[in-house]
């Protein structure tokens, strides 16, 4: 229907769910009059009023915990953490309470809460504003971890997440807000938790997500153009639940696996994908499992330094070439 930028798609999803369900609330710093530092809540306060679009003080732990209370009472808060780096201030509330209260109460409560946050780099904001933290959330029982890579997924996955009865960590790629755009068809329905083949191929299965997905596709296209391997690029969409069926189906065809992501490689979620394959797809593997994530250093603010730290298209290409050459 409409071509939207990634940031616009987020905003449209919020507006649609606010419209559809009075229990949906928006909370966070600067979500009101300002409309969000990345414009994702622009004009929503005018449309839905300050009772539903709620500016919070700079008290991440407090307002995230507060939103858990609202959610346990049946509201559907969508909380924005301005940069995902700040969520570290709220991890106690998220991990020790929000994620566990259903278990701890033996099902008396559920927490239909979405915590949105722009993650990753690409905007020169420096070491305390550019981290990729999804690998932390992936291991927390009780949470769902959503990472849209496209405008359509930013839209549909956010709508799905708001309708979900369990807490969702919804990580948007700040580097995609204004660079990524695409068709968003409002007549579509929920998209579910499954992964998606973003670029078909036959030689290597490349598993990725979010901002790095686009670098993987770019690298795959470049390799194909240069007569290199044909890469099938999978967009995970959710880090948890992890859709291993889609990966397995691809692997049955390619027999080679690469995992590429923006978080630090060491102990990142790419290790999970690789370990899953090394355990359950061993027979399918015709070569080592390649993995590329950020180096284990903080993220510098300058683009040329950041590209030395997080996977660049060039390094992704090199990784895939090496694997193909095995």
């Amino acid at each position: 229907m409409a071509e939207l930028k990634y940031a616009e798609a987020v905003r449209a999803a919020l507006a649609a769910e606010m419209q559809a369900d009075e229990d949906v609330l928006i909370m966070g710093e600067e979500v009101g009059a300002l409309g969000g530092v990345f414009t994702t809540t622009k004009d929503l306060i005018e449309q839905f009023g300050p009772e539903r679009v709620i500016d919070t003080p700079i008290s991440e732990s407090g307002f995230v915990g507060w939103s858990i209370g609202l959610a346990a009472e049946g509201f559907r808060p969508v909380v924005e953490i301005m940069f995902s780096d700040f969520v570290l201030l709220a991890l106690d509330q998220i991990i020790n309470l929000g994620a566990k209260v259903r278990f701890m109460s033996n099902g008396q409560f559920n927490v239909p809460l979405v915590i949105r946050m722009p993650g990753g780099g690409g905007t020169n904001h420096g070491p305390q504003h550019s981290q990729s933290l999804e690998s932390i959330f992936a291991q927390v029982p009780g949470l769902i971890v959503a990472m849209p890579a496209t405008a359509a997924d930013a839209y549909w996955m956010l709508r799905d997440s708001i309708r979900c009865d369990d807490p969702v960590i919804f990580i948007e790629s700040k580097g995609l807000y204004f660079r990524e755009k695409g068709e968003v068809d409002e007549s579509e329905g929920p998209r579910g938790f499954g992964a998606r083949v973003a670029r078909p191929g036959t030689d290597i299965t490349v598993v990725s997500a979010a901002r790095m997905l686009h670098r993987c596709i770019e690298a795959a296209d470049a390799l194909a153009a240069a007569g290199g391997p044909s890469c099938e690029v999978i967009d995970l969409r959710y880090i948890w639940p992890l859709d291993t069926d889609t990966i397995a189906a691809s692997l049955a065809k390619t027999n080679k696996l690469a995992v590429i992501h923006e978080p630090v490689e060491f102990s990142g979620w790419g290790g999970e994908v690789a370990a899953w394959a090394a355990a359950s797809q061993f027979e399918q593997l015709d070569g080592p499992i390649a993995r590329l994530g950020a180096r284990r250093v903080p993220i510098p603010f300058q683009p040329h330094l950041e590209d030395e730290v997080v996977p660049s298209v060039a390094r992704i290409e090199a990784t895939l070439s090496d694997l193909h050459g095995y």
């Binding site: 507060w66 858990i68 369990d166």
Partner: protein, 341 residues
């Protein structure tokens, strides 16, 4: 003593009085809390329970007095020392015992134990084993009720130690900002484990002064006096219902060691708890105040409660242990996600 027990005007200002029936009911709550705590301690000492246990013995007047101001639909959150709050809010005590025994009939299915009592039906949202961790939930839940057009309030119990947590201040400021119907009750028992509250905040009442300066209505009350607590709580709950957040600092005393295994002789006189109880027991204080007249009624309550506790404890222990499969249940509400346990 006249039919209407002389109520000391609660700091709330309203010249409320508590009549004898209400006083008897407060008495029953305190005795019930005491009975539950003593039974749990006994069971632990006999090796029939495991897990942690923080006794609220001596602090019964705070739980009973505050919860007397609440309706069933009002909500309470609590901390690690929460059995008294749970009992006072009306959780069936068999469900409490069963939870501590690790039985599937426990209020939380027997997987959480002493620090994880939850009972939504009674408005008892839950304890929380993270100091001050339950405060934001209480704020959000109370505010949710107001947003729904209800007049329910939320009461969040914390200890003096909880006042050192940053999130407490965040919640105070947010509650004021959003005019949430939240009453924070800080049970200042003089100690956060071994840390003397006087060292950190100053003499009792200091916490109240800090909160007052934020603009949140605040009162300091003697937590040995259940009638004073009940009156103050009534005024503050009313304030929360109609105006905005309120704060009560309730001066109490921790009779027992911090937890079952705590060597409290390392940081206070070995018999500090017992000595205090002998002179300041809030239950005996109310007994004395109600006077000879009520002796029979009080004895009857004592007997009834003793029986109730024994029966509940026995029934709880007799229930089946939580089965192992339960370890993997109720993580998500979304059905398809539970498979990933």
């Amino acid at each position: 003593m006249s039919r209407a027990a002389e109520g000391r005007a609660g700091a709330g200002g309203a010249a409320a009085t508590i009549d004898v029936d209400q006083a008897l009911s407060l008495y029953r709550q305190m005795v019930l809390i005491r009975g539950v705590e003593v039974e749990i301690e006994t069971l632990h000492k006999r090796g029939r329970m495991t897990g942690s246990f923080h006794s609220s013995m001596g602090q019964e007047a705070c739980a009973a007095g505050v919860c007397a101001a609440l309706r069933q639909s009002d909500i309470v959150t609590s901390n690690h020392r929460g059995h008294g709050h749970a009992v006072a809010k009306g959780i069936p005590i068999e469900g409490i015992f069963a939870e501590l025994f690790g039985r599937s009939t426990g209020v939380s299915g027997g997987r959480g134990g002493s620090m994880h009592l939850h009972h939504r039906e009674s408005g008892f949202l839950g304890e929380n084993a993270i100091v001050a961790g339950g405060l934001p939930w209480a704020g959000g839940a109370a505010w949710a009720r107001k947003k729904r057009g209800l007049t329910d309030v939320g009461v969040a119990f914390i200890g003096d130690g909880g006042f050192a947590q940053g999130v407490t201040h965040e919640v105070l400021l947010m509650a004021r900002y959003w005019e949430a119907p939240l009453v924070i009750v800080c049970e200042n028992n003089g100690l956060a484990h071994s840390m003397a509250s006087e060292r950190l905040f100053g003499e009792p009442g200091s916490i109240t002064r800090i909160v007052e300066a934020t603009g949140v209505r605040s009162e300091f009350v003697d937590g040995r006096d259940v009638i004073a607590v009940a009156e103050t709580a009534a005024a503050m709950v009313e304030h929360a219902r109609t105006v905005g957040p309120a704060f009560i600092e309730c001066q109490v005393f921790r009779v027992k060691p911090h937890s079952l295994s705590d060597p409290d002789y390392r940081y206070r006189e070995k018999d500090a708890g017992q000595a205090w109880l002998e002179t300041h027991d809030p239950i005996l204080a109310l007994r004395r105040r109600l006077g000879e007249d009520q002796g029979e009624a009080l004895d009857r309550i004592d007997a009834e409660v003793a029986e109730e506790v024994a029966a509940a404890s026995a029934a709880a222990e007799a229930a089946p242990q939580t089965p192992v499969e339960a370890a993997l249940e109720n993580v998500y509400l979304t059905a398809e996600l539970n498979k990933n346990g």
